[in-house]
């Protein structure tokens, strides 16, 4: 395997014009595509592309808690599974959950829970399944953004949607939305998830090395990006529901005539 896989380390992550490996400016997001209601059987679903990331999320529930002992008397139990497909990375991943997957499942659940009015569905479970079909850095953030859309698509009452975006430091430059090579060979990665209206940070993690000043700047960049992504989420929902609303309006108008 060692001889088969070719690991290509980029020579430099920022060129003399300040451009990044994929030609982006430091504060530029990758192209993002979102779509809701992509799966037939799930109660809610969403598909998201961000750069080369391809992420599919399904939401099932609220449904009967099984096994029963996981039921919580005053709220829904939220179950979250973050999983990477075996073919999603350069080297094949074992489909068994890794320690990383388990940690990410936990932090993603904790990032989404503050937005969900789970007290409305006591003794039930709400399942969130996040599948990373192709990974290109920043999958936990993209997964949160997509999962929040899937929850909205499932009709789960939310305080508001959660949007997430990482920032960090690459080649000495503070940048937004790190791609895979930037994450691997950069100096810091700071994923942040935000509920925009209440200005609440629901996820924050960091690894690498940042001064306090750099950290504050990165946090500001991430929050700003979350606002942009939140707008895209709303537009994705409108794309799904505005045509339906028009059909309903038309039908109601016809009935009235």
């Amino acid at each position: 395997m060692a001889t088969y896989l070719q690991v290509q380390i980029p020579e430099r992550l920022i060129d003399e014009n300040g451009s990044r490996v994929d030609g982006r400016r430091p504060d530029e997001l990758r192209p993002i595509k979102m779509e809701v209601g992509v799966l037939d059987k799930a109660d809610g679903s969403a598909y998201l592309e961000q750069g080369k990331n391809k992420i599919l999320v399904a939401v099932y529930g609220p449904r009967e808690a099984h096994p029963k002992h996981i039921a919580i008397t005053d709220r829904a139990n939220i179950r979250c599974r973050y999983h990477m497909a075996p073919f999603s990375t350069e080297e094949r991943r074992s489909p068994a959950p890794s320690r990383r997957d388990m940690e990410l499942s936990k932090v993603i659940r904790e990032a989404l829970e503050p937005s969900i009015l789970s007290q409305l569905y006591p003794r039930t479970t709400l399942d969130i399944f996040i599948e990373i079909l192709q990974s290109d850095g920043g999958t936990r953030c993209a997964g949160i953004t997509a999962a929040s859309l899937a929850l909205a698509n499932a009709g789960i009452p939310l305080k508001e949607m959660v949007a997430a975006c990482a920032s960090g430091k690459v080649g000495g430059q503070l940048v937004l939305d790190l791609s895979d090579p930037e994450d691997k060979y950069g100096q810091a990665d700071l994923p942040v998830a935000l509920m925009l209206n209440s200005e609440s940070i629901t996820l924050i993690q960091m690894d690498g090395s940042l001064t306090q000043q750099e950290f504050n700047t990165c946090l500001e960049m991430s929050i700003k990006a979350c606002k942009t992504i939140n707008q895209m989420q709303k537009e994705a929902l409108k794309r799904k529901y505005l045509p339906i609303e028009k059909v309903i309006e038309k039908e109601t108008a016809e009935e009235e005539q």
């Binding site: 499942s105 936990k106 940070i201």
Partner: protein, 272 residues
């Protein structure tokens, strides 16, 4: 798969007392918001381990053992030694802990401790390479929680770093491609001194080093690891609540201010 935790039953009156007290700027054990509980760090507590430490943080008790072996490096880092951190929430430490493979809390604990050590560059991992791509030192850090009275992350991070400062590795002789490890030891090459500080949010108050009772009523926690140059090298938020941006910035500033004191205590205990 990660599930919403069942919170331990907590008498409502006890919960209210704690929340009211903290809102008034006080704590049950009369500490200030930025005080740690009494901390005791001992190193070299396990002779069979290459490095070890035991930390008491109030009533929380954690032991860390460092074992060293030789093995192959990872494909993408052929010139670096291997660091592995594992944590066990031993069933004797709490009525909430059960025997079995590590759950998400144990895994998160291990990974947060790992990140603090790895990202600060605490170990000069390139010096742990013997033959690039073939033979390197493998460092196992095993965190053993013995008594859980809150703030396992900081106690584990302190114990893990103290154990690494205490650790020694065998010297080796190289003849061609053949490695012979001798019976002479040298200290593990350490080049940075991380300090991990956990803050929880209760109501609108931010308090450092939560006890178990405080953890149980906290909305969210934020762990910050600071290196010897006051740079932030790892962070982890946990819990079902949220932080405002201002609270995050305050927590980071408090952690930086506090890190020197904790680092000093570890270095003193390890005679470094």
């Amino acid at each position: 798969m990660s599930l919403t935790p069942h919170l331990p039953p907590l008498a409502k009156i006890e919960q209210k007392t704690l929340v009211d007290l903290i809102a008034g700027g006080k704590r049950l054990d009369e500490r200030s918001a930025t005080d740690y509980r009494e901390m005791k760090i001992e190193v070299g507590v396990i002779d069979k381990a290459e490095g070890s430490a035991q930390v008491h943080l109030g009533k929380t008790k954690i032991m860390v053992g460092v074992k060293v072996d030789a093995g192959e490096p990872f494909l993408d880092t052929p010139d670096q030694g291997v660091l592995t951190v594992n944590a066990e929430l031993v069933p004797l430490a709490s009525p909430e802990f059960e025997p079995g493979p590590p759950g998400e809390n144990a895994i998160e604990l291990a990974r947060v401790v790992d990140r603090g050590i790895r990202e600060s560059g605490a170990i000069d991992i390139k010096k742990l390479c013997v033959i690039p791509g073939k033979k390197v030192y493998v460092i196992f850090v095993d965190v053993y929680v013995l008594d859980h009275d809150g703030n396992l992350i900081d106690a584990a991070a302190i114990a893990a770093f103290a154990a690494l400062l205490n650790a020694k590795i065998r010297k080796y002789e190289l003849s061609g491609e053949t490695v012979t490890f001798t019976s002479e030891y040298e200290p593990l090459p350490i080049q940075n001194y991380p300090s991990t500080i956990t803050t929880v949010k209760i109501g609108n108050s931010l308090i450092i080093d939560p006890s178990l009772g405080e953890e149980n009523v906290a909305e969210a926690r934020l762990t910050v690891t600071v290196d010897k140059d006051d740079k932030i090298c790892a962070m982890q938020k946990g819990g079902l609540g949220t932080f405002t941006r201002k609270e995050v910035e305050t927590t980071v500033a408090n952690a930086i201010a506090k890190s020197g004191e904790i680092r000093q205590k570890i270095l003193e205990a390890a005679n470094r």
